[in-house]
């Protein structure tokens, strides 16, 4: 196809922007989601994640820039890209007065590429995959949020897909359900499906994703493989001791600026400055009692917060 570029990326955006009046919800982002990756899309509320996803799927107009989904320019060729994309966007949505099964049949019949002859079979298979076979004939108004979430994932699996866009897929699920989703993602990812998962739950993202991008106030502030992003130029030193002043002095002598935080001493140490064993030795020699000591790369959460600001306040 003339529109298709080397689709090395399942999703690629160039200078993608979305503005509502004078406010830039999405401000010139260059997303690159490699094929076969499990890509985590992180950011506080209001950072532009949902607006980005809406543009990816052809639901919203693009204010500026370009979007390529599976190599096809959107929204010009959404007809070509979307059949191979499954999505769960802004929560599940179904017709409450019909059964889960009939809902899936409805969505499948909207897709002109879907073969009606295999419809029943595919619907049953998708339901089995998310464990909803027993509840399939019940009306959706009787479903719990967790069941609706699973039904939405079943909807995304009605056809063989190359890309699954999941917006908060574990929202409303209990730990068992969350575990099931995680396993499902892992299984499907091993079959070569690319995942684009938008989430607040950093612990989840860390566990299943191979790549990450972080949004803050419409801009992409970080993007890359988990490996790249875990490398850090600085380490975080955490020390618990009763001899706080003594500890701070020792660290100052080692050219480490430390601060006392309630029950802990915390400091940022450039990587390679000094071995942790050396610090412990110096502290012990200065008669500083060590209750606990660690010198580690910052966790994803600490990095996330430092990139996007304290907490998860909704951006302006």
């Amino acid at each position: 196809m003339a529109s298709s570029i080397a689709a090395e990326y399942a999703i690629e955006t160039r200078g993608l922007s979305k503005s509502f009046g004078s406010h830039n919800a999405v401000d010139g982002i260059d997303l690159r989601v490699p094929r076969g990756s499990v890509f985590g899309f992180l950011g506080p509320n209001g950072s532009g994640k949902t607006s980005t996803i809406r543009m990816l799927l052809g639901l919203s107009n693009i204010s500026a820039g370009e979007v390529y989904l599976l190599g096809h320019r959107m929204p010009d060729h959404l007809d070509l890209a979307l059949p191979r994309v499954g999505a769960l966007v802004e929560g599940p949505a179904f017709y409450p007065f019909i059964s889960g099964r009939r809902n899936l049949i409805r969505f499948d019949s909207a897709n002109k590429n879907a073969d009606p002859k295999t419809r029943d079979e595919r619907v049953d298979r998708a339901l089995a995959r998310v464990g909803l076979t027993a509840a399939a004939k019940k009306k959706v108004h009787a479903y719990s949020l967790g069941m609706k979430q699973r039904l939405a994932i079943a909807n995304a699996l009605l056809q063989p897909r190359e890309l699954l866009v999941l917006d908060e897929p574990t929202n409303g699920l209990d730990p068992q359900g969350t575990r099931e989703i995680r396993n499902l993602v892992r299984t499907l990812a091993s079959e070569g499906i690319t995942f684009f998962i938008s989430s607040h739950l950093l612990v989840e993202i860390e566990q299943i994703c191979t790549h990450l991008a972080v949004m803050s106030q419409g801009k992409l502030v970080e993007q890359g493989s988990l490996e790249e992003l875990s490398k850090s130029e600085t380490l975080v030193l955490t020390l618990q001791t009763d001899q706080k002043q003594g500890a701070i002095k020792v660290l100052r002598d080692l050219k480490i600026k430390a601060k006392a935080h309630q029950s802990e001493i915390v400091a940022v140490v450039p990587r390679g400055l000094i071995e942790p064993e050396e610090i412990v030795r110096k502290l012990t020699r200065a008669k500083v009692g060590i209750k606990s000591f660690s010198l580690l790369a910052p966790t994803l959460e600490e990095r996330f917060v430092s990139l996007t600001g304290e907490g998860f306040d909704v951006a302006r």
């Binding site: 639901l59 929560g91 179904f94 409805r106 969505f107 019949s109 897709n111 879907a114």
Partner: protein
Amino acid sequence: MSLDSSPKPSVAFAHFEFVKSELSLLFTRRRTWAMLFTISLIPIFLAIAVSLSGSTVPPGEGPPFLDRVSQNGLFVGFTAMVLAIPFFLPLTMAVVSGDTIAGEANTGTLRYLLISPLSRAKLLLVKFIGAGAFALAATFTLMLTGIIIGSILFPIGPVTLLSGEVIPIPDALLRIALVAIYVSISLMGVAAIGLFISTLTVVPVGAMAATVILSTVSQILGSLPQIEVIHPYLPTYYWLGFADFLRSPLDFTSFTSNLLLQLGYILIFGSFAYSKFTTKDVLS
């Protein structure tokens, strides 16, 4: 830039699947059957009222054809239709057409339909077809119930037309079907207006109310002699013209004029709906 890509030629059966789904969904809803049931009550209550009152109505008094009902049950449908067309039938059509896009937006299913993928133009068309199917169901329900209740409570026989001629029962049944078709067409202009208003909001009740208000306003304007000049352009102008089917020979003048007028409204409001819906952001 339109968010609707040009459709690729595709096997016909696959397009039809969504039409089937839409009709199935529409006629599964309790609301649809509740409306059809209520519509069927109009000829039933009318027939019972006439049969209980006993006294004959002098010709020309009361709703059209009422004087003939007690002599021939086949007139029940015609009278009931005259009673139903000004407000009740347009109200049911406003409910169905106001719900077309706004209803999907309200349940949130709109975004999932569109990413199936489903072209926005096709969604509009299929929803409009659904409204058309409802129009036929409504008018035929009314007329058929009229025949049934009329034959239970009154004698049935060859029908005396407005022009004086008597026609056999099969001929009368044909004209009854034509009336049902005529009135369905009358409702399609309202359907197009409802479809358009439905693209403007995510609150279905709002779209339904706006549509029935516009239909009623059209009726009101049509009764003001001062603005007679605009009357022929109001969508409600030919609504009672189905009386032509009770003349001999069959007169299609009103039918044709009505059809053209409704087509005009369908084209205009259909284009508005298309242009609005294919360019807006789907935020619901």
